[in-house]
C-alpha cells in the first residue's frame, strides 16, 4: 500500500492551510535566543530567532563567543609556533588542520615533502575525517532523538583517538605536522593497527548507518527538511559535505589534489535534493571512502624520510643530531629564535577538511613571521546561509538543520 507523505509535518500544513485568523486570535511574534548555551548549537552559536508560533520568521546568528583572534596571534609569532593554534580551529579534526596549514606554508616556501610524509599526512587526515564525521553523525542523531548512534560512534572514535595518541602523543590537540614534514615517523606496528581498525570499523559503520538510514523517525525529521538548493549553496560559499549534499561535486582532493591524493581511488558522493537527509547520506558515504583511501595508503606505504631533509632553514633537524652535532645545533637555534626563513610572496591554499574547505591565505614579507594570515574557515561560510535556510521552517527543524550542517564554533569564530 503506497502512503503519501507530505512534508513538512502536519502542524505546519495545518498552519499553512488555516484561513486568515480572526483578529481576536491573532498573536504576536516572539523573540527567542537559542544559544549560546544550547545543546543543538554545538558549542557557542547563538541564534536570535523571531517566531510566529512555531515557525521561524527570521533568524540572526550571533557569532564571536569563541573569538580568540587567531589571525592577530599568527602575525605575532613564527610559522612553527602557529601549528598548535591550528589544532584549535576545527578541534574535531586537528590532524587535517595541521596538514592544511603545513602545506600552505610549504607552497609559500616552495618546499617539496617526500612521499612518505605525504602518505602519513593523507592517512592521518582521512582518519581525522572519519573521527570528525563520527562525532558529526552521533551529534546529529542525538539532536533529532536517536540516542544510540552517539554511543556507537563515540566508541569507534575512541579507538581512533587511541591510534592518534600512539602516533602523536595527544588524543585531541595533536600538533603533528611541521612545516616540511611531521614530528615523528609512525611507530612500529602502528600501520598494522590502523589496518585492523579499518577491518573492524566497516561492519560497525554499516550498523551505525543502519540505525538511521531507513529509520522512520529519523527520515521524518530530515527528509525534505532544511533544503538548500544548489544555487544557494554556491551563492553562500558552502563547501564540504554541505555543498555536496546540494548536488555540487566539488571535492578538492579530486579537483585540485594535494599531498598525493591523485594516487588514490575514491568516489565523491553527492546529494540530489540538498536536505538534511542528503547531508547525512553524504557523510556516511564519505567515511566508507575514507576507509578505502586509508587501505590504499597502507597497501603502498612509501619508504624513505618523513621530513624534507634539504630544508635546512625551515625544518628542525632530528633531535639526536641536535644534541651531538654543532651544525645541527646552530640550525635548530636559528629556527627557534628567528623562525623558518620563508621567502616573500602570497599563497592561498585550501584543503578539503571534514567540515568543508579550510583555506589559508598567507602574505609573507620574508623572515620567520607571517605578515598577514587569513583563515578561511568552512564552518563560518557554511553558517552564513542560516538566515536564509531558517526562514519559514519550524523551530524543531532548525535543530535538525543545525545538526546536519555539522559545524564547529572554534573554527567559525577563530
Amino acid at each position: 500500500m503506497a502512503t503519501d507523505y507530505n512534508f513538512p509535518d502536519s502542524a505546519a500544513r495545518a498552519a499553512a492551510a488555516a484561513p486568515e485568523a480572526p483578529a481576536e486570535f491573532q498573536t504576536e511574534k516572539m523573540s527567542l535566543a537559542m544559544g549560546p548555551s544550547h545543546p543543538s548549537t554545538h558549542g557557542v552559536l547563538r541564534l536570535q530567532l523571531e517566531l510566529d508560533g512555531e515557525t521561524v520568521t527570521s533568524a540572526d546568528p550571533v557569532l564571536g563567543y569563541l573569538h580568540r583572534g587567531d589571525e592577530k596571534i599568527a602575525e605575532n609569532m613564527t610559522y612553527n609556533q602557529f601549528v598548535p593554534y591550528t589544532d584549535r580551529l576545527d578541534y574535531l579534526a586537528p590532524l587535517a588542520n595541521n596538514m592544511a596549514y603545513a602545506i600552505a606554508v610549504e607552497r609559500l616556501a616552495k618546499l617539496e615533502v617526500p612521499a612518505r610524509c605525504q602518505a602519513i599526512r593523507v592517512l592521518t587526515a582521512e582518519m581525522a575525517r572519519i573521527s570528525a564525521h563520527l562525532m558529526g553523525l552521533g551529534a546529529f542523531g542525538l539532536d533529532v532523538g536517536a540516542w544510540t548512534v552517539l554511543l556507537y560512534s563515540l566508541e569507534e572514535r575512541e579507538k581512533l583517538y587511541k591510534l592518534f595518541e600512539e602516533l602523536t602523543g595527544a588524543r585531541f590537540t595533536t600538533s603533528y605536522t611541521r612545516i616540511g614534514g611531521v614530528t615523528r615517523d609512525v611507530p612500529e606496528g602502528w600501520l598494522g593497527r590502523v589496518g585492523a581498525f579499518c577491518d573492524q570499523f566497516l561492519p560497525i559503520l554499516e550498523e551505525i548507518l543502519k540505525l538511521l538510514t531507513r529509520n522512520k523517525i529519523f527520515m521524518d525529521r530530515t527528509v525534505g527538511v532544511g533544503v538548500i538548493s544548489r544555487a544557494d549553496a554556491l551563492a553562500y560559499g558552502l563547501t564540504g559535505p554541505n555543498l555536496r549534499g546540494s548536488g555540487v561535486a566539488l571535492d578538492l582532493r579530486k579537483d585540485k589534489p594535494y599531498s598525493g591524493y591523485e594516487q588514490y581511488e575514491f568516489d565523491v558522493p553527492v546529494g540530489t535534493t540538498g536536505d538534511c537527509y542528503d547531508r547525512y547520506l553524504v557523510r556516511g558515504e564519505e567515511m566508507r571512502q575514507s576507509v578505502r583511501i586509508i587501505r590504499q595508503v597502507l597497501a603502498r606505504f612509501p619508504d624513505g624520510p618523513w621530513y624534507a631533509p634539504d630544508a635546512r632553514r625551515i625544518f628542525a633537524p632530528p633531535k639526536d643530531k641536535i644534541l651531538t652535532s654543532m651544525e645541527e645545533l646552530i640550525q635548530n637555534f636559528m629556527l627557534v629564535t628567528e623562525g623558518p626563513q620563508i621567502p616573500p610572496g602570497e599563497v592561498y591554499f585550501e584543503a578539503e577538511n571534514p567540515k568543508g574547505v579550510l583555506g589559508f591565505f598567507i602574505v609573507s614579507r620574508g623572515g620567520g613571521v607571517p605578515y598577514r594570515l587569513k583563515i578561511r574557515s568552512p564552518s563560518f561560510c557554511n553558517l552564513s546561509i542560516l538566515p536564509k535556510a531558517c526562514q519559514g521552517i519550524l523551530i524543531s527543524d532548525v535543530v535538525a538543520l543545525l545538526g546536519s550542517m555539522d559545524f564547529v564554533m572554534g573554527e567559525c569564530d577563530r
Binding site: L234, Y236, G237, V248, K254, C381
Partner: protein, 216 residues
C-alpha cells in the same frame, strides 16, 4: 592557462595589471573595476564560488594602506582559482571598498568580518555591522597599529551598566592571571594561587587566630 586568463581579462578591462603570484592567476584591479570584473569572472569564466574575501593592512602610513583580496574558485573547471586584489579608497581611518553582496549572497558575512576586524567600509552592503566582536566595540583589532595585548574596553552591556552604574571592564589582560606587563608585576605574583592567600600560611584569614599551644 594562468597567463591566458590574465591577458583575456586585460583585453576586457584595460586597467588591470598582473599581480605577482606563485600559485594562482592573480590581478590587481582598480577599485571601480572590482564589481564588473568579479561579475565577468563569475558569469563568463565559471568562477562561481567566492571562497574568500579579506583585506591586508600594509601598516600605518603605507600607500595604499589597505588592499582587499578576493579568491574565487570554479566548481566546473576542476579546482581553478583566481585572486583579485584592489587598493581601498577612503582614509586610513575609514577605508572604503565596494560590496559584492549583489554577486554572492555569501559575501555578506565576509564583508562584515572584514569591516569588524579591519575597518573596511563596504559600500552597498545591506547590513554592515560587527560579526565577531560585539556591537559598539571601538577598535578594529587586525589593523597593524592595534596592539597584540588588546586595549582595555568597557564591555557591551550598556543597558546593564546604565542601570547599575557599574563600569564593566573586559576580562583580564593586564593584571589578570598569568598576565604581566614588563616592570609592573611578576608572573609569580600574577599567578592566581599567589593572589589567593586563603590556602597559605603566609597570610591568615581575617578573624582567624592561629592555633597556639598553651602551657598550663
Amino acid at each position: 592557462m594562468s597567463a591566458d586568463l590574465v591577458s583575456t581579462l586585460q583585453a576586457r578591462f584595460p586597467r588591470l595589471a598582473p599581480r605577482p603570484s606563485g600559485d594562482h592567476p592573480a590581478v590587481n584591479a582598480p577599485l571601480e573595476d572590482v564589481v564588473p570584473l568579479l561579475r565577468c569572472l563569475r558569469d563568463e569564466h565559471g568562477f562561481d564560488l567566492l571562497t574568500d574575501l579579506t583585506a591586508i593592512d600594509w601598516s600605518p602610513g603605507a600607500s595604499p594602506r589597505y588592499t582587499v583580496v578576493y579568491h574565487l574558485l570554479s566548481t566546473s573547471r576542476a579546482g581553478a582559482y583566481v585572486r583579485v586584489a584592489a587598493p581601498c579608497a577612503g582614509t586610513e581611518e575609514a577605508p572604503v571598498a565596494p560590496s559584492v553582496t549583489s554577486l554572492w549572497a555569501g559575501a555578506d558575512w565576509h564583508e562584515r568580518e572584514c569591516f569588524d576586524l579591519m575597518g573596511v567600509r563596504f559600500e552597498g552592503h545591506p547590513d554592515l555591522r560587527r560579526i565577531l566582536m560585539w556591537d559598539g566595540y571601538p577598535y578594529h583589532p587586525l589593523r597593524k597599529d592595534f596592539p597584540l595585548a588588546g586595549i582595555e574596553t568597557e564591555l557591551p552591556a550598556e543597558d546593564v551598566a546604565a542601570e547599575t552604574g557599574t563600569r564593566v571592564v573586559a576580562a583580564p589582560m593586564a593584571g589578570g592571571p598569568f598576565v604581566a606587563s614588563p616592570g609592573e608585576i611578576n608572573l609569580t605574583e600574577a599567578e592566581p594561587r599567589a593572589k589567593d592567600e586563603s590556602w597559605s600560611d603566609r597570610a591568615p584569614q581575617p578573624g582567624h587566630t592561629p592555633l597556639r599551644l598553651v602551657k598550663e
